[in-house]
């Protein structure tokens, strides 16, 4: 087997892991499987595309590629703004939909269904605005660098891997070393008790949406940069995201990241062994295997 699958798998796994962290946080703190999470990836990618295009139009100096990378400063700047805007989108969705359903105290599954409806509506809005034609941040071509062992990596891919490592480390610090992180973990353990001891649950819910959507945006921009931007970008990643969140154990951030890498590597291995057309089935196989053998996942509590 060509060892190149390691690189492809780690790249895909980084995106899946970042997205799965958001799924696992909403699942453990808001207590429902959010089918609209994939759309945060797509919206993040498209918001960055629109902003980066606008910045490049206004200041054409921002379009010239930075160092060895294929994009100019307009993309990182647009990416930071897009993270904020995707967070706003998640908060808006919570204010007009999920928050109201929470207030009605209906069944959890109503929230799941609402997220399903929201996901279709959000995706179709993107399809309406940008059409289903694939888009790209940049037309520049990149030469892959040989890093030994027969592995070839483009500078963009190396940047994506490094960025993922930094972001995951930052999220880990946020959850374990800061007040809001501790509050988040307390609400995930026991929301009623957390409220009793004076934790602002609404604040925690806002933080969950912003962190989850922000990470989804980063994953979406990475997917857009390294592959392409399509309205179905998030939808096609949704099953891998869920598979990773469940494999890692619901509520476990390191678990979600590790499981994301496992799913990504398995997909890349399957592309070589079985064929690219079966790539999407791998997540389903992993999902079924986890539910069959160890439903709580690698690091989760009892399911």
């Amino acid at each position: 087997m060509n060892p190149q699958f390691l690189v492809d798998g780690l790249i895909a796994g980084s995106m899946i892991g970042l997205g799965a962290i958001g799924i696992t946080l909403t699942y453990s703190i808001l207590r429902f499987a959010n089918f609209a999470h994939g759309e945060f990836l797509s919206w993040g990618a498209y918001i960055a595309l629109a902003l980066s295009g606008a910045l490049g139009f206004l200041f054409s100096a921002l379009k010239t590629p930075v160092g060895p990378f294929s994009f100019g400063w307009s993309l990182p700047l647009a990416g930071i703004l897009a993270i904020l805007l995707t967070g706003m989108l998640a908060l808006l969705l919570d204010a007009i939909l999920f928050g109201r359903l929470r207030a009605q105290r209906g069944a959890v599954i109503i929230m799941v269904m609402a997220s399903f409806g929201a996901s279709l509506a959000l995706r179709s809005v993107l399809e309406f605005i940008f059409t289903s034609k694939p888009a790209y941040y940049t037309k520049a071509l990149q030469i892959a660098v040989n890093i030994g062992g027969g592995l070839r990596v483009t500078p963009d891919q190396m940047l994506a891997l490094a960025l993922t490592a930094v972001v995951v480390f930052a999220i880990h610090l946020l959850l374990t070393r800061t007040g809001i992180g501790r509050s988040m973990r307390a609400v995930s353990e026991n929301p009623a008790l957390a409220g009793v001891v004076g934790i602002d649950v609404r604040m925690v819910i806002r933080a969950v949406w912003i962190v989850g959507a922000g990470l989804a945006c980063i994953a979406g921009v990475m997917a857009g940069l390294l592959v392409q931007i399509r309205p179905y970008l998030g939808h096609d990643l949704l099953l891998p995201l869920f598979a990773a969140a469940i494999l890692g154990g619901i509520g476990s951030v390191p678990g979600a990241m590790l499981a994301g890498l496992i799913v990504g590597l398995s997909e890349a291995a399957a592309v070589q062994l079985i064929g690219a057309e079966w790539r999407a089935a791998i997540s389903f196989v992993i999902l079924v295997a986890v539910l069959l053998i160890r439903p709580r996942g690698l690091f989760g509590r009892q399911a």
């Binding site: 109201r100 009605q104 109503i110 996901s119 995706r123 059409t131 089935a281 439903p295």
Partner: protein
């Protein structure tokens, strides 16, 4: 002109009723039992392909094509979809409620991949053609053909409706609702929630398979494109609009939502230039998505809502003068 309208009406009704069958299947799973299935398109596709394989004439380069009668295909489609539903249910129903949702989403993705890639079995992206159509000998006369197909579907839906109403009112149906409303109480009465849920999920899956088979035979041609996630979404919208938990609501919702869908599709193709039609079609989906969320927020019961079913023994007491005793049974409402 009137004959044309009548023929179109029959065509519309037949299509709407195939959706009504899916909707009735979903009502067994969600309406009666509270099981969330996001993979409706997958189960419908399984039924359609199984039936097509059983009934189509032998074709070079494709496995299957047994040339069996249509009824055998319908039965086979329902059976295969039921078996898949049973397997997925057995895997996930004992776990958290939304694990089932995620697993059924996976089924839809996996089925879509299989029909695309198992070309020797499913014809790949080109699908399967020449599926025998009921009353094919009438095809020369569109009106007679349309009316007899509509009649067949009306009969199927009516039979299914009566069978399901019977099930809903049976002790079995009451156990399902008891589990949905208060699992611990039902368990305390000695009912095994997992087993009853699994039965309901399997029956619902089989009905969806039957719907897929019926639709495939009516259209005469199937391709992977017919079973995209949008199908799942439409069926959900139909059940929620009509009123989940209510079999008549499921049928009403199917006809109503299919009517809205078909007429907005017609509006899109009339009022938009061809190059803008794909865009306008995506607005159509936004509209239905927002509509579903609005109904969940504003009128979760749907148009008809659930009818309260109680045992005929209690109804007897209610009719008698002992109102106090009856009210004790119904105090929860």
């Amino acid at each position: 002109m009137i004959l044309d309208l009548l023929a179109y009406g029959a065509f519309f009704l037949t299509m709407a009723l195939t959706y009504a069958i899916m909707c009735l299947g979903l009502n067994v799973q969600w309406g009666q039992t509270g099981l969330f299935n996001v993979g409706i398109a997958g189960f419908v596709a399984i039924g359609a392909y199984a039936s097509a394989l059983l009934t189509t004439p032998e074709t070079a380069g494709r496995i299957g094509g047994f040339g069996l009668p249509i009824a055998a295909g319908w039965f086979g489609g329902a059976l295969v979809a039921g078996v898949v539903a049973y397997l997925i249910g057995a895997l996930t129903i004992r776990l958290r409620a939304d694990y089932l949702a995620i697993a059924t989403f996976g089924v839809a993705v996996a089925v879509q991949l299989c029909v695309l890639n198992l070309e020797a079995l499913t014809g790949g992206a080109f699908g399967i053609g020449f599926i025998p159509r009921p009353f094919a000998e009438l095809a020369g006369n569109p009106l007679a053909f349309g009316l007899s197909n509509a009649g067949l579907l009306i009969a199927v839906v009516a039979l299914l409706y009566m069978a399901l109403e019977h099930l809903v009112r049976s002790p079995w149906g009451r156990v399902l609702r008891a589990i949905r409303e208060d699992e611990a109480a039902a368990q305390a009465l000695g009912k095994n929630p997992t087993r009853f849920r699994l039965q309901a999920f399997t029956i619902g899956g089989a009905i969806m398979g039957l719907a897929g088979a019926a639709q495939a035979h009516f259209i005469g041609f199937i391709a992977p494109d017919n079973y995209m996630p949008i199908l799942t979404f439409q069926v959900w919208a139909m059940l929620i609009v009509g009123g989940s938990g209510n079999n008549r609501g499921a049928i009403l919702g199917a006809v109503l939502v299919w009517g809205i869908w078909a007429s907005s599709a017609a509006a899109v193709s009339t009022f938009f230039a061809p190059e803008q039609q794909a865009r306008a079609a995506s607005l159509q989906i936004v509209m239905i998505g927002v509509g579903l969320c609005l109904i969940l927020l504003l009128r979760p019961r749907g148009i008809l809502g659930e009818v309260r079913n109680v045992s005929r023994h209690i109804r007897k007491i209610m009719k008698s003068d002992d109102a106090e005793l009856a009210s004790r049974f119904l105090s929860k409402d």
